[in-house]
Subunit: 246 residues, 2 copies
DNA sequence: ATATAAAAAATTATCGACAAAAATCGCACC
DNA sequence: GGTGCGATTTTTGTCGATAATTTTTTATAT
């Protein structure tokens, strides 16, 4: 029996704009947060009933999620949460390294006053969140938010809108895996040291050093999962073979 | 008065799969081929009537096109063809260089017998198309197809599915601009020489040389537009300010 | 003439119903 | 016990209508 995730009267308010957009965001959140599991079927009728909207609305929200590659559609057999796997994580990591580094290098080479100010702010907030997390005073959600803002700030100054857009896509994708690795005791202090080093190199306009550090940072994040037998198996063996979302 | 593009009973057959998919593909073709111009409004009702399908079908096809970034949606004011500009071309070119080179390097480093065979085939077909094009014997469409297949073949052997996926996205995006530059007399012979050089470096497993050549190849393709005053102006000044698709 | 506001028209977003296809079940048969 | 086949149920894809919103037009005052 598999209930507890999704289903009964989960009324989403957020009256921001169209219904489609509201549903889209809520579904995205649930997928990234792992409320809907990889490969889980996302049935129109079920979601429609839960959100109290029309089938078309759900359908369009799901179609939008396929852009983010969080949902996969197959003709005549509906939508499901995009699978996760060790292979995908390796692949994603490689792609992220290419994009994150390209974007950071560009950011540094075009460094401006405004950018550095923004970066300092993001770094300070991240530092606070990471210090609190060490002393068990803050939630993982808060840290994740600060982490995202910090990495966005690193990228923000790059010229190419396209590179930034693609980087964002991959970063979002990696959030699902980060969520996974948060379940094991990972060395917070090391992660913070990495962030500090990257920050300092960026502020010093040392593009070579900064990208090298970022490269390792992204790589090590994947290592947390790679080195943990339980997680590795959870990813490849049993991605909770629950087909229905009922 | 602006007719001649889109409108009267354009019945699309292609009975492959769902109606949404058929419409999606046809719209994509028309946007890339420039039948629908940048910034042109894509009205649901108009398209619905033209294709003889329901509004929902058109709507979903348009939503899918936003994944490809060929169509841009704005809340409560519908869909329009994504704009083109000189700035976007510069940006896109920079991003393409990063991805095309990363992918080619990976392809070469993992070189296999099968891949080389495929590459040779693609190169030979491209050579034939380019030779014919020089003597005015083949259509631009045929060349474009061969060019795409050749560049796909270069990328095909890379490990990272993500990098390949993103490369594909950008390549498709660049097709719109390539279409534009086909209107001016560009030096076909030079382009062919570039293709040959890249091909030879790839077959020789010289990743450094191959990526350097590919870098220049992508850059020069942008130059064709950059160096042509008429095209440059057409892009930024008057993207044919025809709002309605009526 | 020009600006402003109300009314009309056009367009998009949402709905619920129905048709088409896939998955599931029940039963004969090996 | 398993295996193929047809009927039933579930789920997806498509439709056309209506509500909500934006754009255009018309009317009115400055």
């Amino acid at each position: 029996m598999d209930a507890e995730n999704a289903g009964r009267a989960d009324q989403v308010e957020t009256n921001s704009g169209t219904a489609i957009d509201t549903i889209y965001r809520e579904l995205r959140r649930r997928i990234i947060d792992g409320i809907y599991l990889p490969e889980q079927k996302l049935k129109i009728e079920h979601l429609r009933a839960g959100f109290q909207v029309s089938s078309s609305t759900v359908r369009e929200a799901l179609t939008r999620l396929t852009s983010d590659h969080l949902v996969t559609a197959e003709e005549h057999r509906g939508f499901r949460v995009t699978p996760m796997s060790m292979a995908d994580l390796e692949d994603l990591t490689q792609a992220r390294i290419v994009l994150e580094c390209a974007v950071l290098r560009d950011s540094i080479n075009n460094a401006t006053e405004d950018w550095e100010l923004r970066l300092v702010g993001a770094y300070q907030r991240l530092t606070r969140a990471e210090t609190k997390l060490l002393h068990d005073g803050a939630s993982f959600d808060t840290w994740e938010e600060c982490n995202r803002v910090f990495h966005d700030a690193l990228a923000a100054n790059a010229h190419s809108v396209w590179l930034k857009r693609l980087r964002q896509l991959l970063f979002q994708q990696s959030e699902r895996y980060r969520r996974l690795s948060s379940t094991v005791a990972t060395s917070r202090a090391e992660v913070h040291a990495e962030h500090m080093a990257i920050f300092e190199a960026a502020i010093a306009h040392d593009a070579e050093r900064a990208t090298a550090l970022l490269h390792d940072h992204v790589w090590r994040a994947a290592n947390v999962i790679r080195d943990n037998t339980a997680l590795r198996k959870a990813l490849d063996k049993g991605p909770e073979r629950r087909g229905s979302s009922k």
